[in-house]
Amino acid sequence: MRVPLSWLREYVDLPATETGRDVQAKLISAGLEVETVEQLGTGLTGPLVVGKVLTIEELTEFKKPIRFCTVDVGQANGTGEPQEIICGARNFAVGDKVVVALPGAVLPGDFRIAERKTYGRVSRGMICSGDELGMGDDGTHGIIVLPPEYEIGIDATVLLELYDEVLDIAVTPDRGYCLSMRGVARETATAYGLPLRDPALLDVPAPNAYGYPVQVSDPIGCDRFTARTVVGLAPEARSPIWLQRRLQKAGMRPISLAVDITNYVMLELGQPLHAYDRSRIDGPIGVRRAEAGEKITTLDGTVRVLDAADLVITDNRGAIGIAGVMGGANTEIADPVTDPETGFVTGTSEVVIEAAHFDAISIARTARRHKLSSEASKRFERGVDPQAAAAAAQRTVDLLVLLAGGTAEAGVTEISAPSAPRTIAMPANHPDKVAGVDYGRETVVRRLQEVGCDVYGQDELVVTVPSWRPDLNVPNDLAEEVIRLEGYENLPSTLPKPPAGRGLTERQRTYRRVGRALAGAGYVEALNYPFIGTQALDNLGLDADDARRRLVTLVNPLSDEEPALRTTLLPGLLGALRRNDSRGSHDLALFETGLVFRPEGQPGIAVRLPVDRRPTDEEVAEVNAALPSQPRRAAVVLAGAREQAGWWGKGRPSDWADAVEAGRTVAAEAGVELIISADQHAPWHPGRCAAFHVEVDGEEVLVGHAGELHPRVVKAFGLPARSCAMEIDLDLLEKANEGPLKAPRISSFPVATQDVALVVAAEVPSAEVETALREGAGELLESVRLFDVYTGDQLDEGTKSLAYALKFRATDRTLTVDEATAARDAAVALATERTGAVLRGA
């Protein structure tokens, strides 16, 4: 809502020194979001005067038609002589009154007017358009042609009200009444403690039976309909300058007198109005729901197919308007047309004024359905004062009579469904309890009265809320009114005392630890969008029946290429990897932790539960069942060097082992040991892919994969060669956690170290050999470490040698060489039995 300060002053006697900024501050603290205060006339100084065009000489020797004019500006130029002015516009004639900027004037944009030679003549000033004066769009983009009655030589900055301030207010959905001057004026009056001149306080004639016939067949959708008729309008009558200027300042375009007046009254009182050309209505006006498929051409020229839930205004022919949203073209007020020969103006001379009240939700749905948000629908959606309809109709009639020379017909149609004023019972100290401030009953009552409420009672108040405040329904609504008028800035600052908390949960700590551990290992966190498309899944090389292809899909994605939610963290991370690489960072280690979205069964419909009670546990479970599973995962991707080359020596490229190690790092932070085995799983290289399992309740559960990416995946995503990746499920790791770590027993007896080199077939996983060694060695074994892997000339084809350092130690004695050797032999024996390992050199 754009509120010109000059207009606001009509209803509230603000001190003359009060600026737009001052009013802004007051209204903000009263809860109106005044976003800006626009200074009209900034950069504009006169002399700017009314002139009358005396002569026009058409200069034709130039590329475009140019006019050399003489203009009578009276004594404004000091001489009384006609002012000679070159002008490029053509929408004026000899005898027209125009606005002249004389030399010395400055127009907005630091446009200085001076005497100058142009087109072979001397131009002493400028004939101005609305745009040039910063007045906003008047629909013509041409020279302002003033009504003839204005005196030559008078100051046009005053006449055109060029200096003003406009408050731009973003009206929240609960304050629909502030989409009117009346509502903003009420808030202003309250904020300043000044009286309000309510523009809706008008004498309105009683309804009678001989007004324009109206039949409302849906009293729920339309609980009030007032119709008035004005005849004998002068089609040539134009909106006066003050009216046009107020509309422009409020952000609306002047159109024609009758339409301008309905818009003006809507801005003033908040009541949307519609003017029908009576000669174009066929029979009684009706209000009903549309028939499905019924068509209407609205004022904007669009043919719209109506829904059965749309409320329409009708005549005998059918729909003539979408109620509360937009009128129809077939009953539109006709633009005045001047007969070129006679000069006779024809146009609408009889209008029927509609001031109705429609159901907010119905209008909201219709506006949304037709993607048609109008000034009227915006107001109805937020709630219009139903009691203002008759006054608004009267105000419209008055202005038509005054400005268009019309005559009001005596008939007054008013159809209204019975309604009682709304009351709210509230303890007088309720606002005090909400705020934590002792306002006292007196203050509470006074503030509610300022809002427009009638208040009765002592300790228990009965509050009748004003018709323009449909948002006031419960005691807390009233408490807010009291607290905001007393000033949110005056609330004290106190701290509640929560019960002792338990800090972060184990799971929340684990998430943080995982992030820190990965960052500590050199990985940089990337938070990627979770949107993916099938292209990404194809790029990953997933089989047609891969579970990761079962997607949660969005109805309204930002991009049709990526309409679904991720089922793996990898596409986002690989995108970030490629982006970094293409921006010149080539040695990369990235990680992300976040949710993936996996539908469970067919995506269903989440039931809408009631809101008047707590849903039962079964109801909550039913709603949750419609949601996909959303496990939290961690993933890393790597490319380029893991260790950089430098003065210290050679670097080392990142490889599959780094990716696997990242998995171990994450699992260690979750307090879980991974069981690692070889696997073949997209998008990984089939020979360089590790599967991660953990033990949950005695069962091995797959929790993730790591390794080098498949070369085809690397190519499809445009990644550096040999990029690697790891992805692991944090929720499953959490399940595998067996509680606090049991501290190891430390023996201070000497260690006995035995090295063994075992030759096994190349395809035997080292993890199996190590497991066998551990189990075979028995409890004297302290640790096993694989310190070398050898393949080459000294071994048979297809075999490899694994060299282990075994450390033995007892808790109660120094081991003898024989004891250590026996344990080693037992370890090797089990490795031999399980994996065919042979002691090298044996």
Partner: protein
Amino acid sequence: MSAPNKSYDPVEVEALKPEEIERMRDEALAAFAAAGDLDALAHAKTAHTGGTSPLALANREIGALPPQAKAAAGKIVGQARGAVSKALAARQTELEAERDARVLVEEAVDVTLPYDRVPAGARHPLTTLMERVADVFVSMGYEVAEGPEVEAEWFNFDALNFVPDHPARQMQDTFFVQGTSPDGKATTGDESGVVLRTHTSPVQARTLIDREPPVYVVCPGRVYRTDELDATHTPVFHQIELLAVDEGLTMADLKGTLDHMVQALFGPDMKTRLRPNFFPFTEPSAEMDMLCYVCRGESVGNPDRPCRTCGSEGWIELGGCGMVNPKVLVACGVDPEKYSGFAFGFGIERMLMFRHNVDDMRDMVEGDVRFTRPFGMEI
């Protein structure tokens, strides 16, 4: 004690001459002094203190002397040997010091060499800022609550008093998830009742349904709205939400909690300002601003000292807050006659932008390591 000297006839042995002993001593001292390095000194040590050195031999001869001569000879030889071993130790120390000094100089390195063998990693500043804000409240006794990102509309809107068709529901541009209608077709509108949560507020409803009051929780998390990515918007962003429900909570408590938060995050003399606003799930509702922590409001009306951070407004808009709407309490099974509550929520991206001078939202979402790495582990 030396072994008796058997190779000499004690009778034949001449009494040890003091000058001879002194000569041996002086030769030894000279040899040590002449030794230029530890190797030469070791050599001289063997020559002058070893088993076959003159002084050692002289010492052995003492045993062969007549008893009356032993004491005197022993004294002379002992003194000489003492002086020699002292000189040796002194020279040894001296040479070791020389060597150490030389070697340490030779081993000196350029400590200014850069070292980025494994470049440091980092956590995303949005993650760490969210944790930091949460920790302020955890230290006050609040707990951290979580909820799903794909959320039922009932939790995201209905339970929070966003009635169907209320204009507030259109204020937020919501991603709807496709469901399957009873006739087996994919839904094309909002029929599924499942959305990407548009705020962290549904966690309020979930928490109230799960727990008995008093409830004091914060809910950090990711939220979604259908905005295109540009310098100041992103469709995927982060919020932190606070909810307190207890007996007798007031708006003054809300104000105090907000003041405490900005003081913990931005310094002890910080404060907040509340402005009336509208949100369906709070009543009364307010917009919350914090004093600009850069100019402390001094840029207002002071064109000589403009403030970039607050645009010379003096205040920075943080987010929305208010007293929990009793309708929300009812929908979650909390008795509004007995309990009241307050809640607030704000965007982490915005706070990161003004706290760390980030100009462009895109820097936070593209995962460029050059942006994230400097933020390190904590913020």
